[in-house]
Symmetry: C3
Subunit: 182 residues, 3 copies
């Protein structure tokens, strides 16, 4: 069995289809079950539904899945202590949901701050997946600019409190901090 | 002369104008001639033609150049054993060509899988250049989304079977796997 | 106090909201005052003005600020020898200004080359911040393509002559070259 150094919060970010979810899952599967997968994606169209179903099949039956597009901190409070590991996939979809749901959960920045406070109080190891979205030309759309600023801000906050942080490129991790996992 | 550790498959990816082609060429030029440059770009407009001509001049006369926008696996089969090194520049343009040529070469995913199988059977060292295209806001255009998913998938496949894989940033390599070259 | 290894030119690049400006400032503040902040941004709209004011407040009173959207080489000549450290934030905004000001400062490529020559002659340590803008889908807008080519070219030039170069991701540095700072 692989040796996983103890961590409380592990963070993986990367571009689209960079292999970050697969690597996050591999890390989680080196920790004892039961394992919780928190999906922040909403199946708003067929393309999304197909992606979600594909990922669910890939995880197999050893995982429990909770879908939560908005109340992420509440979900973590509820799950804490009940699982061997929690995997949240992904933070950028969650931010996008917050932005498009009319601030019913308060300003996204406040929700992000509250989420980070919740992270610090968890006793169950947690693995967080996020997207890099700010490496292109400045978007003309102001909502897209707001989103990428929010995503960059949250990625910085989570990486700062994580024990392990990696940038995933072509399926392989570049370590930003922490000791190598697996 | 520089010392190049033996590799079968070397992989370089990076953003636009990151210096990945220049670095790939430097790696190739530390291996014995004759050298084959496989260009996947098509000179569809003046901007592209100027880029291609500029790169050809930069390589100089020690290189042979084959242009092949689509049948990349066939080209590698034909070139194998006849050169000291093969450089393919680049995989993302090839995927883009496959996508826009009405699947006359089958589904791009199948072509990518077949290409990876061909890579595994080569005896000539090969250097593969690819682009990172999935680090921005999700494109509104569905073909662009399909393209970046394809590119991410192929980058993962090639990095998995490569001996050496780097991310090139500002002309400098970040090693994802393998021992340092040059 | 932190130990900063001697450097003449330090280079930080990264995506939007990656924490590169904060890290650059931390590096500068480990060097003796007085410190010069060269802002290349122009407050063309409220969004920009708010960003600039926010960053100015964050730096505090120990910094002097010069705003210069175009004549960057001239500013460096003038500032050289008068400060403990110079921080330029950021090169990509400067390139964008050059592109949109009708070439009154000559071709952007020439301005970039002249800027790099100026860098080589400085005696005051300088820290340069830049953006990664070429990691998304190829922009349809030809000016945007020209901009990202210019930015990639300048990033390569500056990284080549820098003592220290990092890619900043989620607030954390990946070292491209040079010894660790702080």
């Amino acid at each position: 069995m692989s040796i996983v150094p103890p961590f409380r919060v592990a963070f993986l970010s990367g571009g689209a289809k960079s292999g970050k979810s697969t690597l996050a899952q591999r890390w989680a599967e080196a920790l004892p079950p039961p394992r919780l997968y928190v999906a922040t994606g909403e199946a708003l169209d067929e393309e999304m539904a197909a992606r979600i179903a594909h990922h669910q099949r890939a995880r197999g039956p050893q995982w429990q899945t909770w879908e939560e597009p908005l109340a992420l901190a509440a979900v973590l409070h509820e799950a804490n202590g009940r699982y061997g590991v929690i995997l949240v996939d992904c933070l950028t979809l969650w931010l996008s949901n917050l932005l498009t749901h009319d601030h019913q959960f308060g300003h996204p920045e406040s929700a992000a701050d509250q989420f980070c406070k919740t992270l610090e109080g968890l006793t169950t190891p947690i693995i967080l997946v996020s997207n890099e979205v700010g490496w292109g030309i400045v978007p003309e759309n102001s909502l897209a600019r707001r989103f990428r600023d929010l995503a960059g801000r949250l990625n910085q906050q989570v990486a700062a409190l994580a024990d392990v942080a990696v940038l995933v490129v072509s399926g392989l991790p570049l370590y930003l901090k922490g000791r190598q996992i697996l």
